[in-house]
Subunit: 200 residues, 2 copies
């Protein structure tokens, strides 16, 4: 079986959310699984010199228009959160815990957290909110809260983010297929073609 | 007849080049013409806080991979120039002169200059090179050189770039359809759909 594809995403990234709604079905069409890799763009930006979209002159205004337009095009429910961006640390730790213990359900948790943030305007920077959303998605609330505060999971997330940066990841979503990098929700057509053809 | 669509592009932008090879045919499929609007990203970056791609950590390395890969996908000839980026001032002034005097040939000049830079590795920051490329494309060499040094054209370019920034343009390529902005060569599918459907 070919290697899983890596899906890197930040929980405050609308484009990461959009791609997350499609990546698992896209990969499955080509016999691939997805390794869900939550990312902390705040850490990445210290290396890349990047900054959150809303803080960028001109580009921030464009994002306000492009993001809901992209959502409508995809038919993905979306509402700009009242607090944005927020820290994805708690959500990312919960995600790693699920990946460690029930990997096949990582996508389901990811989408539940994204929807909580980008549809229901829940503040997923809060461990309690993350645990509640996870519980609604069928995970054990107390175990999720414990994972968010688990030193080993904290270290795992730190190491994952550092490894992602070392591998050249700088944005969200960021897909890596057998070492080949694709940045952006607007690269999913290229991701699909790469998977279908083996590259060009 | 519906309004022309605005195509903003910087002469040092590979993605601008890629989109330039397609925009006129794309617009024509929907009964539209193209207004070619050369842009100076160096001026834009002073407002946006942006920077040339090669100077950006992580993103610059990604660009080195994504740009030739994108070119291969589109079937567009491409070779990274040995000197990159370069000033697009001379090329942009020549372009405005052609637009002022023979608008329907602006796309042809643009593509000739882009190919000189991104295929033949000519340094199009040089007025002499711009005039020579233009001459090969059928324009009057001396007139082009004169236009590059013409105070009115200089002012026109300055005003055009300022107007673009005021309209929210911050990257290349950047397409505006009846006020609706689309940034990036990877948004041409959305540009086409917007033209076909009138929006969503």
């Amino acid at each position: 079986m070919p290697a899983a594809i890596d899906f890197h995403y930040d929980y405050s990234s609308p484009y990461g959310y959009f791609a997350a709604t499609r990546i698992e079905a896209l990969a499955a069409r080509h016999g691939r699984q997805v390794t869900w890799r939550p990312l902390l763009l705040g850490v990445v930006f210290k290396v890349s010199g990047g900054a959150p979209l809303p803080s960028l002159p001109l580009k921030g205004d464009y994002g306000k228009r492009d993001i809901p337009r992209f959502a409508r095009l995809l038919g993905v429910p979306f509402r700009m959160p009242s607090k944005f961006p927020v820290s994805g640390t708690a959500a990312s730790r919960a995600t790693l815990w699920v990946r460690n213990t029930a990997a096949e359900r990582t996508g389901a948790l990811t989408l539940a957290l994204y929807r909580a943030f980008f549809v229901d305007d829940r503040d997923i920077s809060s461990p309690e909110v993350v645990a509640e959303v996870a519980a609604t998605a069928g995970f054990d609330r107390a175990a999720v809260l414990a994972a968010i505060n688990d030193g080993a999971i904290k270290d795992q997330l730190k190491n994952e983010v550092e490894a992602a940066i070392a591998a050249g990841v700088f944005g969200s979503p960021f897909v890596v297929i057998d070492g080949e990098p694709f940045w952006g929700a607007d690269r999913l057509d290229q991701v699909e073609r790469w998977l279908a053809t083996g590259g060009w």
